[in-house]
């Protein structure tokens, strides 16, 4: 088997003085789709934010290796440059910069090269079309006044355009209507069709997964990975809930 793209080893994470994650081990290889499920408050988002390096989540023990480099102590922007991406559960509104300028800015930071405007705009417009989102959003301030659904689509637009090696989707499907989930799911599928991309999907529902081939399902309860299985585990949880995993 090829080397893991993401290697999480014995990861302990605090929020303030409280330990939320108690020793997580996780390997994600290129081309794999992992699903992370678990009851509310289990620490799923914490894992996503800790991998992305949110300073509010302190790693007290363990390590994260991404694409062969130890990023445990790296700043968030360095992790992004290494090829990590986090789709936020609640994307932040930033007034004064347009969605399009922001993505261009990010692309230039990530690549270290100037973006060629015409090509970039075209790519952006293709991507936003595929998400069935109006082009006018490109020139609106980043997420400002976007509906819940548009915010999530804006995240997937960023995913498609910035094209990282691996993406963590933190409840990208929550709060979306059926059509929006399908659109977003198709966007994620487009991303995965490329060679050697990887996904960690945090979700409560299965609809976003329909278009994707899930390799592994993990169940996180009280800050620990209780069990790992294949895609069939999702159906099991959907039917029976988390009860049998709770003490």
């Amino acid at each position: 088997m090829s080397q893991a793209l993401l290697q999480v080893r014995n990861l302990h994470v605090n929020v303030g003085d409280i330990e939320i994650l108690h020793g997580i081990d996780l390997d994600i290889h290129p081309g794999e789709v992992h699903v992370l499920m678990g009851p509310n408050g289990a620490g799923k988002s914490t894992l996503g934010h800790a991998i992305m390096g949110n300073p509010a989540y302190k790693i007290t023990k363990g390590s994260i290796v991404f694409n062969g480099a130890d990023i445990t102590d790296e700043s968030t922007d360095k992790r992004a440059k290494a090829g990590l991406f986090l789709s936020f559960q609640n994307p932040i509104e930033v007034p004064g910069i347009s969605l399009s300028n922001f993505i261009r800015n990010a692309q230039e930071e990530l690549s270290g090269e100037r973006v060629r405007l015409f090509r970039f705009r075209k790519q952006l417009e293709n991507n936003i079309d595929s998400l069935q989102m109006d082009k006018s959003y490109l020139d609106r301030d980043l997420n400002v006044g976007f509906s819940g659904g548009e915010k999530k689509k804006s995240e997937i637009l960023q995913l498609l355009t910035l094209n990282p090696l691996m993406a963590i989707l933190d409840e990208t499907d929550s709060g979306l209507d059926v059509d929006a989930v399908r659109t977003v799911s198709e966007g994620v599928q487009t991303y995965m069709k490329q060679q050697d991309r990887a996904l960690l999907i945090i979700t409560h529902s299965t609809r976003i997964l329909e278009a994707l081939k899930v390799n592994y399902t993990h169940v996180l309860v009280d800050g620990k990975l209780i069990t790992t299985g294949d895609a069939s585990l999702i159906d099991d949880i959907n039917e029976n809930g988390f009860e049998k995993y709770l003490n």
Binding site: G53, D77, A80, F85, I92, V94, G96, I97, A106, E109
Partner: protein, 470 residues
């Protein structure tokens, strides 16, 4: 002692060999502002008689009035040696080597060409700008627009018009520094736009910065006649360096009927400057006055552009931003007086403070007894970048008419860690993420500015943000 050092600096200056005969004009060791000094200045300026008398009267008022004590402290300003600020050619006599490093660095990073840097630093003449100024003048003159320096206009065909308007909106009795201005004003612009003329290109005083004496006590007088339209831009976002550290300029704007004037200004004084500037507009029936204002730099600023909505259905919009960094106390805001019926004003004021900087929004909205149906909406937002900085909002509202609609909203915030994390998760460094949030905050001002100024303002914000991490 400090002032004496400055004189010595000038004596070593590049221009010394030219200036030896002017040495007497430096009034080196005299204290206090005397009628003799003002008379001498008046003579040098070749003032008409009325102006000479006006200066002397202003001087009397100046000597009578007290220094204002209601705002930021101006104790650092030595009023006994005020005469050294009045010294002619101060702005021109600096030496490149004496320009503080931080200002030179700022020029460097703003990408301002060497020639302009020297001009902005008060060193030497800037021939390109003179040329541009000249060309613009020719172009607008073809439309009947007068755009010239105030001193020469005093002797031209518009002398009478200037006499009628000069310091009528800001009388010398207004406050001590207005009186000082009346006594020693020097340089500045005169613009007259005849009825029904729309000036397509913005006129920029930037091109006149190096006029002798400009930048210290300059007087701007703009008259926009009925149904005319003008955009005037004052200043520049590069820091202007002056040896003397007092700026007491005056701006008087007269807007006729159904006319429009947009007055944009970016002030970025060197950080030793006391900026005590007075700006006022009188707006006629059905006309529109727009202010766009960016205040950076200076040690202390008192700046409250005032609009008198005299005519019915007249309208004012104010969009301003103030950025106070370390050791800066910037007291800015605006005043509006609604006299006419159905007048309206919209105020969007923003401030940013960091590294212990103090930023105060001070405003006064007055609705006069005849201003039936007047509307005023103010919206103030402050962004504080750290715990040492300070931001205050002091609005005064005085309504003397029962039929008026007045609102004031204020909001104080800081940069959210979540937002910084969000931007960093897309690859932006912490510094860039913060700068982006701050320039986004300032965006409603920069988008009102012509492109080159907006770019400079954003660069300026970035510069101010450098080193703000940690």
């Amino acid at each position: 002692m400090k002032e004496k050092t400055q004189v010595e600096d000038i004596n070593r200056s590049l221009y010394d060999f030219k200036d030896i005969e002017d040495d007497a004009h430096f009034y080196k060791f005299q204290e206090g502002l005397t009628p003799d000094i003002v008379l001498q200045l008046s003579k040098e300026k070749n003032d008409p008689d009325w102006m000479r008398e006006f200066r002397l009267k202003s001087l009397e008022i100046y000597n009578r009035l007290e220094v204002p004590d209601w705002g930021p402290s101006i104790e650092g300003l030595n009023m006994d040696e005020i005469v050294t600020y009045v010294r002619p050619k101060t702005g021109m006599s600096a030496k490149w080597a004496d320009v503080p490093e931080d200002i030179k660095n700022t020029f460097e990073r703003l990408g301002i060409p060497q020639a302009e840097r020297e001009s902005l630093a008060g060193v030497g003449a800037q021939y390109d700008s003179e040329l541009v100024y000249h060309n613009v003048r020719e172009e607008v003159a073809a439309m009947g627009v007068v755009y010239t320096d105030l001193e020469s206009a005093l002797h031209g065909p518009y002398a009478e018009m200037i006499h009628e308007h000069f310091m009528k909106l800001v009388p010398p009795t207004d406050h001590k520094f207005a009186a000082l201005h009346g006594a020693v004003w020097s340089g500045g612009s005169f613009v007259y736009v005849p009825p029904k003329v729309t000036v397509e290109i913005p006129l920029q005083s930037y091109f006149r910065l190096n006029a002798p004496g400009a930048g210290q006590f300059e007087h701007t007088l703009i008259i926009v006649d009925d149904e005319a339209d003008l955009h005037f831009i004052e200043g520049c976002s590069a820091p202007k360096y002056n040896v003397a550290n007092l700026h007491a300029g005056c701006v008087e704007l007269f807007v006729g009927k159904k006319a429009r004037l947009r007055y944009s200004t970016i002030e970025n004084w060197s950080k030793n400057m006391y900026n005590l500037n007075t700006k006022r507009a009188l707006v006629g029936e059905g006309s529109k006055m727009e202010w766009v204002s960016g205040s950076f730099g200076s040690h202390v600023s008192y700046l409250y552009p005032m609009t008198i909505l005299q005519g019915d259905h007249s309208h004012m919009e104010y969009t301003g931003i103030t950025f106070a960094g370390a050791s800066q106390n910037l007291d800015t805001g605006m005043k509006v007086i609604h006299n006419g019926a159905d007048t309206s004003s919209v105020i969007n004021a923003k401030s940013i403070s960091k590294s212990g900087g103090i930023s105060t929004y001070r405003s006064s909205v007055v609705i006069g007894p005849k201003a039936f149906g007047a509307k005023s909406a103010a919206n103030c937002e402050s962004l504080m970048l750290d715990d040492e900085s300070r931001s205050d909002t002091i609005p005064a509202i005085d309504v003397r008419c029962a039929d008026a609609d007045v609102g004031h909203e204020a909001k104080i915030g800081r940069i959210s860690d979540d937002a910084v994390f969000y931007l960093m998760s897309r690859g932006l460094s912490e510094e860039n993420a913060r700068a982006l949030i701050v320039s986004g905050f300032a965006n409603n001002v920069s988008k009102e500015l012509p492109l080159e100024y907006a770019v400079e303002m954003n660069n300026l914000i970035r510069l101010e943000m450098v080193g703000s991490i940690g």
